[in-house]
Amino acid sequence: MVTDKGVWSRLRLRLLFTGPTLFAFIAVMIVPFLYGIYLTFTNWDGISTTQSLVGFQNYGSVFKDAEFWKSFGLTLKYVLFTVVFINVLAFLLAYLLTKGLKGQSFFRAGFFLPNLLGGIVLGFIWQFIFNNVLVFMGQKMGIGLFSTSWLSDPNRAFWTLVIVAVWQYAGYMMVIYVAGLTGVPGDILEAASIDGANGWLKMTRMTIPLMVPSFIVCIFLSLQRGFMVYDVNLALTKGGPFKSTELVSMHVYQKAFLSRDYGVGQAEALVLFLIVAVITLLQVYFSKKMEVEA
């Protein structure tokens, strides 16, 4: 029915279904993206009525901006730790909560709950915990580790970010892993037990390979969220103490809106976009190869 009609007719049918979405997508994604790329070639400060083209000068400044690369390095470190901890913890939780424990759906809901809070609220809650609750307990009980605020020490402040991210996302990833675990067919596991495979062998040889799609999704999500984190960073540490926990998104924002260097900020955002896109695409490409059929 569709094939025997002309090009225009087919296009019209497609436009009917995809047109509205396409319109929205172009208006809110493609146009701003292209305009953003254009801005990287200007020296606009965000308000002046005039702006001049400066060629690739902004990209030059990106590579000379030591702070940008420092915060990018910190972000890499942050992403590494959060991805590992989130996924390990989420998998363990999912494993425990598919064992048929008493009240397991209650625990599942409980672990998922942090994910329903917005990053800003969460940041303030944990700021209170790290600044007041832990310090109070540390001083009363004489625990040296907690007697000063973790948020005022550059090293520990970094770990507060990791802890909060793990707490926030582990439950979410757990739900995906639970789905993956329950999707592993029981018959092959049973067959394996009859053949004499122990629990560890079943886990590493059967369950995990069959769950690769869940791992792909979870690692992809945690990677992408790790690189793009801004809200928790803002509410929990504000990049402090003395800019030591300023992750890359925050640096880009500060560059564009605080230093009023819109062009350089936009160029940094684009560089960040390219790097993150490459990393996540590589991750998906390589882990796709590990997928197996039952």
Binding site: L13, L16, D45, T148, S149, P241, F242, S259
Partner: protein
Amino acid sequence: MKHVKKMKWFILSLTLILILSACSSSGGNTQSANGGQNGSSGGGIKITLLNSKSEIQPQLEEAAKAFHEANPTISLEIQPVPNGGSPFERASTLYASGNPPTMIMLDTGDVAKFKDRILDLSGEKWNADAVEHALDLTTIDGKNYAFPLAIEGYGFIYNKAVVDKAVGGNFDPSTINTTASLENLFKQIEASGKKALVVSPMDWSLGAHYFSLAYAGQDKDMTKVNAFIDDLRAGKVDLASNKVFNGLMDTFDVMTKYNIDQASPLAGTYERGPELLGKGEVGIWFMGNWAWPQISSFDTANKEYGFLPVPISNNAGDYGNQEISSAVSKRIVIDKEKSTPEQQDAAKKFLDWIVYEQQGQDFLVNKANIIPAFKNITLPAADPLGKSIQDYISRGKSEQSMSDLPADHWANVGASMQKYLAKQSDRTTLAKEIQQYWTNVKE
């Protein structure tokens, strides 16, 4: 089949209509909104003010009401800058969306950035009544673009009850004019069983207020201070050997030594400062007169507070040892891009109302606790901190605050100062970091 085809066309046209009507209806809305603003609908002239002094939002709304009663044809709406946002950010967003307010309250340093979009106010009557230097920084090529709203000053705020007890008698602020005498006062306060002071570790306080004393204290002559800034940009200044920088940091070392939060100097928040000072747990806090509403809610000293200068040497006569840093910190500008001439006139009328009408002056001084930047307003400041600043200004003991520093100065220099406060860097590193900031800064 025919039926399906008809149906398809129907849906297609329906979506089109939906999209088009969505676009056009929003267009229509803005038009009618503009119509309302123009006053063509007969409802009078509607003007807006973007307020970036969030602590006076309720007072401003009251003032808008009073102004409307005095001028029934004009209605004024006050829009707040959202919490945590800067006026520059908000105003540039509003301009980008083609819907700027009639009046914008900006920080001094931002006015020049908006100069293509705002009205030249040189012809207004209040220009002649403004206090000395109030218009210097907003005058570009001989034209003044902004209305000076508030003078703000900062230094060491003392709680008179605590220091009276410490010195045993009536405390005389003029005795504190060297680093040594300040340290002596700290010792006396500690001896009386209280903590000497609280150093609030916010980057804006340390960077924009405390450290900029190192620039302003270079010379009484602002042109020399500006030359010093130019030298910093050019990388020609060696801060580590600069007398004012070292003196200021010597005082800072003394402050660190007597700081109540010594154990974790970066954990403090702004809210902690007024509480400790107001309750008299410490005698001194480094902050400005804008903190009065917070201090007064904890007040135990019968509203007796005042300012001490931040000494930068042990020679009482040096510039800065007896002076309080103050300047006009908030400016109102009028948009000329989207506002109609009627709206612009109404906005000018509002500014005149503040300066020349008894009601306006009452709002400014008594309601909003602002130190006015106009000679013709003779009302005394309503709170002790404002009074103290006014007293220093009237005795000629004021130092121009640095209010046109680059926009990211407070964040970067503030971070370096926090590092120094937490003893994670020394004076050489601090000097180097600040010199580095200045040689890399934009513009």
